[in-house]
């Protein structure tokens, strides 16, 4: 890929006891592209996300984030430090704060972009906290309108439908103004109509310059939106390339359909 890479994985290996969940996985994600990670169940896709976002620490390998001149290593950083660098993520099994309202959930997304501390909350004459909360509120409102969840603002998150929760989680991730978005199966459980809306939304985000790394099972979503596809099987990368090239790759067909299909 000729474009400049934003995320660079080099020989990332993660083991759980005797099981190697990721073995020496390397690939790059170019700035402003949508890159999909696909693979059968148990291929290590979510483990890969957990390594990038700092939830898990890989035993070997390097993960670099940022453009070449100012690249940071992510290995060994805590999740909150990685979020601060500009990586936001969603979860396969949606992790919203169920007791809190939709608005509050999205406001928590702005946490990394605000600074008010304990004293700002106590000291009523500080303007920083006031300005910040105004800014955060504004941002949350715009995101809710964009994702068409503004009517739900005061509902507790746990009371929403699956599709609505997915959108709230996406809005929460976007509220942190990330440079890169990690989406773990964002289309799972969505209706055909919702899926189409999601694809349009992802394309719009790419248009705005956001880099997206996507885990997805549904090839009807992956193939049309992705610029690049990485295929994992049993923790190893077996292929990468444009969607068309990957679909024709014999090893990919084998991994998905078995040897007989060849």
């Amino acid at each position: 890929m000729p474009d400049e890479s934003l995320l660079d994985l080099k020989a990332v290996t993660k083991r759980f006891g005797g099981v190697t969940a990721l073995s020496s996985v390397s690939f790059e994600v170019s700035k402003g592209k949508i890159v999909s990670v696909i693979g059968p169940n148990g291929a290590g896709k979510t483990t890969l996300f957990n390594c990038i976002s700092g939830v898990l620490r890989p035993e070997e390998g390097q993960i670099g984030f940022g453009l070449k001149k100012t690249r940071d290593s992510l290995v060994g950083c805590a999740p909150h430090e990685i979020a601060r660098m500009g990586i936001a993520r969603t979860f396969q099994n949606i992790r919203l704060f169920g007791q809190q309202t939709v608005l509050e959930n999205i406001l928590t997304g702005t946490y990394v972009r605000t600074e008010a501390g304990l004293l700002d909350a106590v000291w009523p004459w500080t303007r920083r906290a006031h300005q910040e909360s105004h800014w955060a509120m504004d941002k949350a409102m715009r995101l809710m309108e964009r994702l068409e969840i503004d009517a739900l603002a005061d509902r507790p998150a746990k009371a929403l439908s699956y599709g609505q929760q997915r959108r709230v989680e996406l809005a929460r991730a976007l509220a942190s103004d990330p440079e890169m978005l990690l989406l773990d199966e964002p289309a799972a459980g969505l209706t055909v109509h919702e899926r189409q809306a999601l694809m349009d939304f992802l394309r719009a985000l790419r248009q705005e310059g956001l880099t997206i790394l996507l885990i997805e099972h549904d090839m009807k979503v992956v193939m049309p939106v992705s610029d690049w596809v990485v295929v994992l099987d049993h923790g190893a990368k077996i292929a990468e390339g444009t969607p068309d090239a990957v679909q024709r790759h014999p090893q990919v067909i084998e991994a998905y359909l078995g040897v007989a299909a060849l």
Partner: protein, 313 residues
């Protein structure tokens, strides 16, 4: 931000402030002062358990540290109460943070057990550190607060007003905190620590902040307690005190500022009202608690039950 629900505050505290002008006897005023003291403690613990979701069973330790700090500063260095008050709050807050550092990694019921242990350790250290704390006999002769030439003395009335003023201040701060950026982050962390971390929240730092605030409130309460009693002894800071304060917070509803105050008032006054039942007093008290928890597990004003804190993700 939504309209903040603090409208109840001015009226409530105004009524509380004029209460001593009604013909109560000195015993009743003393019960009221104690209720205010417990309400202050409940507000502080509510920041730790209710806001940040850290089930702490050793809260009386910070109360003790505040009381002993006040006594020590007054007796050995001759500081007046008005200097001892903020210093004890700072000392107790710092102690809460320091004692929190080693235990912050464990969660839910495990945290409860570790903090229980730490609470007991503090009490035992205080009992055995005789040259500094007077051992089991405690410290005596702590000076009462003075305003100008007016000495607070042994009458409970001025202490009641002082405690009510501190209570109003703390309640106001707490309700501002809850709606702040930090308060929102506490609530998020309480529900799902992993998701909170991935949103850029430094959960260790947030937990220590909650402990610091809660500890400082306990230290404040402790120093008023020391100045009011004139003596401090280790048995005032028994494990049962921690449990009592926690019960108040749970009864009122985890995370609710109003709830913590109402819970503290109910639980500190009920045993006094039940005095005529003599030996059955605590039995009736316990039954009332069980019934309440069956009927309203989330507490009087709360949204989440204790179960959620115990089984936090």
């Amino acid at each position: 931000m939504k309209k903040q629900r603090r409208d109840w505050m001015p009226w409530t505290f105004l009524i509380l402030a004029v209460l001593p002008f009604f013909p109560f006897n000195s015993y009743q005023i003393d019960v009221m002062a104690n209720a205010a003291l417990y309400a202050l403690l409940a507000l502080g613990l509510n920041v730790i358990v209710g806001f940040a979701g850290l089930l702490h069973l050793g809260y009386a330790a910070f109360f003790a540290i505040g009381a002993y700090a006040c006594a020590f500063l007054n007796l050995n260095l001759g500081y007046p109460f008005w200097i001892c008050l903020p210093v004890s709050a700072a000392v107790a807050g710092a102690a809460a943070v320091l004692l929190g550092l080693p235990v912050i990694r464990v969660r839910g019921d495990y945290l409860a057990i570790v903090t229980l242990g730490f609470g007991e350790i503090v009490r035992i250290v205080v009992t055995n550190l005789e040259p500094w704390t007077g051992g089991p006999n405690g410290l005596m002769g702590i000076g009462h607060p003075m305003i100008g030439r007016f000495n607070f003395g042994v009458d409970s009335r001025p202490y009641y007003w002082l405690l009510t003023a501190l209570l109003a201040l703390t309640a106001w701060i707490c309700s501002r905190l809850r709606r702040s950026r930090i308060g929102l982050a506490w609530a998020a962390m309480k529900e799902d620590e992993l998701a909170a971390g991935c949103l850029g929240m430094d959960t260790t730092r947030l937990k220590l902040m909650a402990l610091g605030v809660g500890g400082a409130v306990a230290g404040m309460a402790g120093s008023v307690f020391a100045a009011k009693q004139g003596t401090v002894t280790p048995d005032s800071f028994d494990f049962i005190v921690s449990v009592m304060i926690l019960s108040m917070v749970i009864l009122g509803g985890l995370g609710s500022v109003r709830g913590a105050i109402v819970g503290a008032v109910i639980l500190s006054i009920t045993p006094e009202l039940l005095r005529e039942f003599a030996v059955y007093r605590m039995l009736i008290f316990g039954l009332l608690m069980i019934v309440l928890m069956r009927v309203r597990p989330q507490g009087l004003f709360g949204a989440s039950s204790l179960k959620r804190v115990l089984h936090a993700r």
